[in-house]
């Protein structure tokens, strides 16, 4: 019986000492810091396993509070912890007009002429450094730097050699805008349908020689809709999209090189084209 007693006494003493120590530490040694760190830390599993890549839950909490780590960085906690942390930090996507990344080039494999055989690193940026592989110095380089940086898998290289944006997946994060060495991506509101699909500043003849789909600065679109479209540096520029009235669209679409026009053709038009193809086939 004494043994049990000793045991109980020892454990009680240990528990007491430990708790007193904790209380003492809690009160005396506390360091002032961002209360969010504490809150995030609370929300974490405290497994201190290091699976997040940080030195323990505390370090991870600090990183999250500073915005260095993603809120979903704790693999142990899973979804609940993630949403809890997000709540603490008050991260909620504010309502904004949905935007999408749009490519300003229609220089497909077929349309844009190559300079010559390229022997080098197969990224757009690398090709751009030696002047690019296309005779057009402004157009798409077809190597997909944008596809590689897209964190949402919203881009892929289409069959024609140009990157295609998956509108459902695109979050307009802007990574592709930064990645393109020729600045061919731009974020536009979803509703903007008329886009100039060229960035070539070459004179008409030179542009046309390099690419079938280049803007040759003929000015048809600008004449059709002078209040919204002007010619600047050999290229059509949409100054104010809102001023393009729908009835002008057919005029604008008369562009001889398809360098400006609607992003999506009407569905019945598409169907018609398909029918045509079928008939031909």
């Amino acid at each position: 019986m004494t043994e049990i007693l000793i045991s109980i006494i020892t454990m009680t003493a240990l528990g007491f000492l430990f708790s007193v120590g904790l209380v003492f530490a809690y009160k005396k040694l506390k360091v002032e810091e961002d209360p969010k760190i504490e809150q995030v830390s609370e929300a974490l599993p405290q497994a201190n396993c290091g699976a997040c890549g940080y030195a323990g839950c505390r370090a991870f909490a600090e990183a999250v509070a500073k915005g260095e780590a993603e809120v979903n960085g704790c693999p142990v906690g899973g979804e609940d912890v993630t949403s809890e942390i997000a709540n603490i930090l008050g991260i909620e996507a504010p309502e904004v007009v949905k935007q999408l990344a749009r490519l300003h080039c229609r220089g497909t494999h077929e349309a844009a002429k190559d300079k010559g055989p390229y022997i080098g690193i197969s990224t757009c940026h690398a090709a751009h450094l030696i002047g690019g592989t296309k005779q057009c110095s402004f157009g798409c380089l077809h190597s997909g730097d944008c596809v590689r940086v897209c964190p949402f898998d919203a881009l892929h290289m289409g069959e024609e050699g140009l990157p295609v944006v998956d509108e459902d997946k695109c979050t307009a994060c802007g990574k592709c805008v930064d990645a393109c060495p020729r600045n061919l991506f731009e974020l536009h509101p979803v509703s903007q349908e008329i886009i100039v699909f060229c960035r070539s500043l070459d004179r008409g003849a030179a542009s046309r020689k390099a690419c079938k789909n280049a803007c040759i600065a003929c000015g048809i679109c600008a004449r059709a809709c002078p209040e919204a479209i002007v010619m600047e540096n050999n290229i059509a520029v949409i100054t104010d999209y809102k001023k393009i009235s729908p009835d002008k669209i057919p005029e604008i679409e008369k562009c001889p090189t398809d360098a400006i026009g609607r992003l999506h053709k009407d569905t019945n038009e598409e169907e018609k084209e398909e029918e045509k193809k079928e008939d031909e086939g």
């Binding site: 043994e3 049990i4 000793i6 045991s7 109980i8 006494i9 020892t10 454990m11 009680t12 003493a13 240990l14 528990g15 007491f16 430990f18 708790s19 007193v20 904790l22 209380v23 809690y26 009160k27």
Partner: protein, 201 residues
């Protein structure tokens, strides 16, 4: 109730309950654990000394324990020596038996070892190692036979077999036995181990 006092109370209570609980469990299992440990020793003794029924611890120091063994009738059956020494990787604890006249090793068994599996760990293996330890001369130094013999008969009385490819482990076991044999002989000379039971032991 303030937070601090609540913290203290909760932890103290948990400690109290856990302490009591654990002590209870320990009480329940204590005996069996002690029995287990003893059974391990007894088993080892039974392997190295024939007819041993009663074990009497006659000498104990760090790394060396000597038991006197009596048979069913209470006659002296032999001695069991438990010795510990450093092996190839870690400590080896072994037990060997001596006959009643203290001149012959009756057998060897290994209680605890941490040698390389598949190699040095074969010192636990009857076929490769232990069978060569029966009836060895305990009056002098034992020596190692290399290359290894295939049957115990090939060895002379003071020769011990080597395990193929584990020379060091074999050698280490031999060293431990030789060393403790010397110690035993010295103890006999000093009269600390007697063949008959002494008063007050």
């Amino acid at each position: 109730m303030s937070l601090s006092s609540r913290m203290i109370i909760v932890l103290t209570t948990v400690g109290l309950i856990s302490g009591g609980f654990l002590a209870g469990v320990a009480k329940l299992t204590e005996e069996r654990i002690a029995l287990n440990i003893q059974a391990e020793i007894e088993e080892a003794i039974a392997e190295v000394v024939d007819n041993a029924e009663v074990n009497q611890k006659v000498y104990e120091e760090e790394d060396l324990v000597i038991y006197r063994e009596l048979d069913e009738e209470g006659a002296l059956a032999g001695f069991a020596v438990q010795a510990t020494g450093v092996g190839f990787q870690d400590k080896i604890t072994l037990m060997f038996g001596l006959d009643a006249s203290l001149t012959k090793i009756t057998g060897l068994t290994v209680i605890d070892q941490n040698e390389t599996p598949g190699l040095g760990a074969k010192i636990e293996d009857w076929n490769s190692f232990l069978q060569f330890w029966e009836n060895k001369d305990a009056t002098g130094q034992l020596t190692l036979r290399k290359p290894a013999a295939r049957t115990p008969e090939e060895l002379s009385a003071a020769e011990i077999n080597t395990i193929t490819a584990a020379t060091i482990s074999s050698k280490k076991v031999l060293e431990i036995v030789n060393l403790s044999l010397e110690k035993v002989r010295q103890l006999i000379q000093e009269g600390k181990i007697a063949k008959e039971e002494q008063d007050g032991d």
